[in-house]
């Protein structure tokens, strides 16, 4: 019969395919067997499993990106910029296979850095943090929230002053209180003592109290005195001289008033021009007569050139401030519109300093400020130990499951065990080819999936045994077993994959590694347990088995007399 032979041919092809797959997966997962043939061995053993930090040691850092100063349409760009910059810095550091990625979590943007196999964690962190933050700012009013913040601080200062005044009035030690509380660095350590002074040496509100209020020696002025510096508690100690020569010896406790205009970071506002618009920076001596000052010359990229031109045009005659890492470097007054995209930073640098700044700027300025919010580190030896232990656990688990299957299902179990070995080799090969990072949890997921992988076979074989007992031939019963068990296998595995999918998208490292290997494991195991096991069984099982049902773990007397 031609159909028969073509079916048989197809089966032979399928079996040959299975054997081929097994050999390839076996070689890729354990290339050591090819050691006798160095070229092949070298080619194959180059593929390595990408081990996670917890297995080879290293550090995982999570930074929060502060995007409050970035226009929402540029956020992604800025984060990408930060990622590139960190990558460049780490590469300069020479760490093997670092990973830098951005992630969004709720409303927060994060930059995640993983440095495997690194020895000096502190140095690496320094290197990442060291990234310079270059900002160009223009003059501007402090915004309302800044003003509110200062009002709040001043209110608290005044309340504190009032409290200390009450203490003084109730007989508290004036000089001790001054030492503890005063914000006047000049007099604080002397218990607030200001020594003798003539009229006009202090601000007018202060003078008024000392010279006009007729205080007696040792008397404390009963109210707070507000001046431009803040709130004062004033003690009149003594006076000497008369008329214009009169001098007063007084002491005070100052509670300072703060003003946004005292701080350069509040009087300049962001312009959108930052280090990310930088093309390159060089250190040079300023042009002019003789040897000039060391300075850092900047060249902007196209967008930066445009922005800088607009900025200089808008701010003619005003200051543009250049901040490096949050510190004001210079704030030159714009003389003319600059359209060539060039600027220089001077700041009393030595040439060496200028050179270092230029290098840092060239490696890249961070377009967003980053704060470290999470750190996990694993010492390398600990990672290796985890790897060895989990490998032992894997081998023990695999062996135990194999023994179990062979005891329970005999010949069928033996075939399933071979599928299981193929499954294991396939998984290792997939990990090697896909570059998926294998973490400790990933190995756990993998080992667990070995236990789950045989589940499909158990379902099928239980069904097969049932069908044999009902009187079907072994061959028939095997086919029936595969057919009938399919819906259970499908529904069960879909739900496992659903939970693995949810686990994966939940996002953290441990869970992700576990979910990925579990998901792949469930998918691959469906293939090996069904397709590969069936192909092998179809190929191996023929009429020889009918009189030997013990070989599938059934007693002959349990088989009902067949009527087919």
């Amino acid at each position: 019969m031609p159909t028969m032979t073509s079916a048989k041919k197809k089966l032979q092809l399928q079996f040959a395919g299975t054997v081929l797959l097994a050999v390839f997966a076996g070689l890729f997962s354990y290339p050591e067997v090819l050691k006798f043939a160095p070229p092949a061995y070298n080619a194959i053993s180059r593929l390595k499993i990408n081990l996670g930090l917890d297995l080879q040691g290293g550090i995982h850092l999570e930074y929060k990106a502060d995007i409050s100063n970035i226009d929402s349409s540029h956020v992604d760009e800025a984060l990408q910029g930060a990622q590139d910059v960190i990558e460049r810095r780490i590469n300069a550091f020479g760490v093997g296979e670092p990973l830098v990625q951005t992630a969004k979590s709720g409303n927060e943007h994060r930059v995640i850095v993983e440095l495997p196999g690194i020895k000096d964690i502190e140095q690496a962190k320094e290197k990442i943090k060291d990234a310079p933050l270059l900002e160009f700012k223009e003059e501007g009013e402090p915004d309302q929230s800044t003003k509110d913040m200062f009002d709040q601080i001043n209110k608290q200062a005044k309340e504190k002053a009032q409290k200390v005044l009450e203490e003084v009035k109730n007989g508290g030690d004036f000089s001790q209180l001054a030492k503890d509380n005063s914000e006047d660095p000049g007099s604080k350590e002397n218990g607030g003592d200001l020594d003798f002074a003539k009229k006009g040496q202090f601000v007018s509100e202060f003078d008024e109290v000392l010279f006009e209020k007729g205080l007696k020696s040792g008397e404390i002025y009963p109210e707070l005195v507000e001046t431009q510096f803040g709130w004062h508690i004033i003690k009149f100690i003594e006076s000497r001289g008369e008329g214009d020569e009169r001098e007063v010896h007084a002491a005070h406790i100052l509670f300072a008033k703060h003003d946004p205009y005292q701080y350069e970071q509040f009087i300049y506002k962001d312009t959108g021009l930052s280090g990310k618009n930088l093309k390159f920076a060089t250190a040079q001596y300023s042009q002019g007569q003789g040897l000039g000052e060391p300075e850092v010359a900047l060249q902007f990229d196209d967008e930066g050139t445009k922005l800088f031109a607009e900025l200089t045009k808008k701010n003619l005659g005003k200051q543009i401030a250049i901040f490096l890492d949050g510190e004001l470097q210079i704030a030159p007054v714009v003389q003319s519109e600059i359209t060539n995209g060039q600027a220089v930073i001077t700041g009393n640098y030595t040439f060496q300093e200028a050179k270092e700044i230029a290098e840092r700027l060239n490696q890249g300025a961070l377009p967003v400020p980053l704060t470290l919010v999470s750190q996990q580190s694993v010492e390398a030896s600990l990672g290796i130990e985890s790897l060895q232990k989990s490998l032992i656990a894997g081998v023990v688990g695999l062996a135990a499951v194999t023994v179990f299957m062979i005891i329970f299902y005999r010949f069928l179990g033996f075939v399933a065990s071979i599928s299981l070995l193929i499954y294991t080799a396939l998984m290792i090969t997939i990990f090697k080819f896909s570059g998926i990072t294998l973490t400790l949890s990933g190995i756990a997921g993998f080992i667990l999936s070995i236990g789950m992988a045989v589940d499909a076979n158990i379902l099928i074989f239980e069904r097969t045994k049932e069908e044999i007992k009902r009187g079907r031939t072994v061959q028939n019963a095997i086919e029936e077993g595969f057919k009938r068990a399919w819906t259970s296998i499908r529904d069960g595995n879909v739900s496992s994959m659903l939970t693995a999918g949810i686990l994966y998208f939940m996002g953290t490292g441990f869970v992700k590694g576990f979910a990925a290997s579990l998901f792949i494991g469930v998918a691959v195991s469906m293939f090996t347990a069904i397709v590969i096991t069936r192909t092998m069984l179809r190929f191996l099982v023929s009429d020889w088995i009918h009189e030997r049902v013990w070989i599938v773990g059934i007693r002959k007397k349990d088989v009902k007399i067949s009527n087919t």
Binding site: Q375, S377, D491
Partner: protein, 298 residues
């Protein structure tokens, strides 16, 4: 054939006691969270010869005023030092203080998690569990859509979901007890374990439901619903136990040989798999019959 459904009463009582005990333990003792969920720092320090007493270490660190400082000695001359601060500066200070006092000390690892991150992890974990249960319920209701007699398909989904909640509650309860008596902490790995238990347990339940569906579709009308369910349970019993055994074997391998880092992760899975197997045999299907009986009585 075992009369499993007929003995459902005892299973309900047994599960009721376990669930009640778990709720009691959870409400009185709660769970011990690790820094994944509380935020803060965990520093592992190895000492040259032996770990100094907790008292001595905490005196060494006293001047730093660390909030909720906990020191634990661990295997291999290692001390685990925890505190609520989660910034680099404090960590450096702590390490410097230790290094000055104990010259042979080595810093094995420093992990810290900002409290906003940990809060977010906590809420995400709960969301993931709720989402998983909801999706599994929906999937089962869909997969069993063809069976609507005598019990509607959504009841299969509900039955599976109740069994799942049961498994998770009891596993969490066990860890609450372990936390109280042995200081076992739960973190992200525990959540991963719970979600895996969900997947595994529902897998088991589905196999039984699937057999019930098949028997219902082919069955004669003479057989009552509870008999069909009972027969299906018996037919899948060996498979349920064998599958669980293979998984238990592999988990035991991880628990015994896999090293400290994943020991409790494996334990959580182990407990969950055993409870899950029990609930798919004794609870999930019994719930179908109970809801059927209630419907008939009406």
């Amino acid at each position: 054939m075992f009369n499993i459904i007929g003995k459902a009463k005892y299973a309900y009582i047994f599960s009721g006691i376990l669930v009640f005990a778990s709720i009691l333990s959870l409400s009185f003792w709660g769970l011990k969270y690790d820094i994944d969920f509380t935020g803060g720092t965990l520093m592992k320090v190895g000492f040259a010869d032996s770990v100094p007493s907790n008292q001595e270490i905490s005196e060494t660190l006293q001047h730093l005023n660390l909030g909720s400082l906990i020191i634990q000695a661990s295997d291999g001359n290692i001390a685990l030092i925890r505190y609520s601060a989660d910034d680099d500066k404090t960590n450096d200070d702590v390490w410097n203080a230790i290094r000055e006092k104990y010259s042979g000390a080595t810093q094995q690892s420093v992990d810290f998690i900002n409290s906003t991150v940990s809060k977010e992890l906590k809420s995400k974990s709960l969301q993931a569990i709720a989402l998983a249960i909801a999706m599994i319920m929906a999937y089962i209701a869909w997969a069993f859509r063809k069976v609507s007699r005598p019990v509607e398909s959504w009841k299969y989904g509900l039955g599976a979901a109740i069994a799942l909640a049961h498994d998770i509650l009891i596993t969490t309860g066990v860890f609450s007890v372990l936390g109280h008596f042995y200081g076992v902490e739960i973190g992200i790995p525990f959540i991963a374990a719970l979600l895996t238990i969900l997947g595994f347990s529902v897998h088991d339940t589905i196999v039984v439901y699937d057999r019930t569906r098949e028997n219902l579709l082919r069955g004669s009308n003479k057989e009552g619903f509870s008999d069909v369910v009972n027969r299906s349970l018996n037919e899948t019993l060996v498979r349920s136990i064998n599958t669980s055994l293979t998984v238990v074997i592999t988990l035991l391998a991880i628990y015994l040989f896999g090293g400290l880092s994943i020991k409790y992760f494996a334990l959580a899975l182990l407990i969950g798999v055993i409870i899950g197997t029990y609930s798919s045999i004794f609870i999930a299907s019994a719930l179908l019959v109970t809801s059927y009986n209630l419907m008939v009585k009406k």
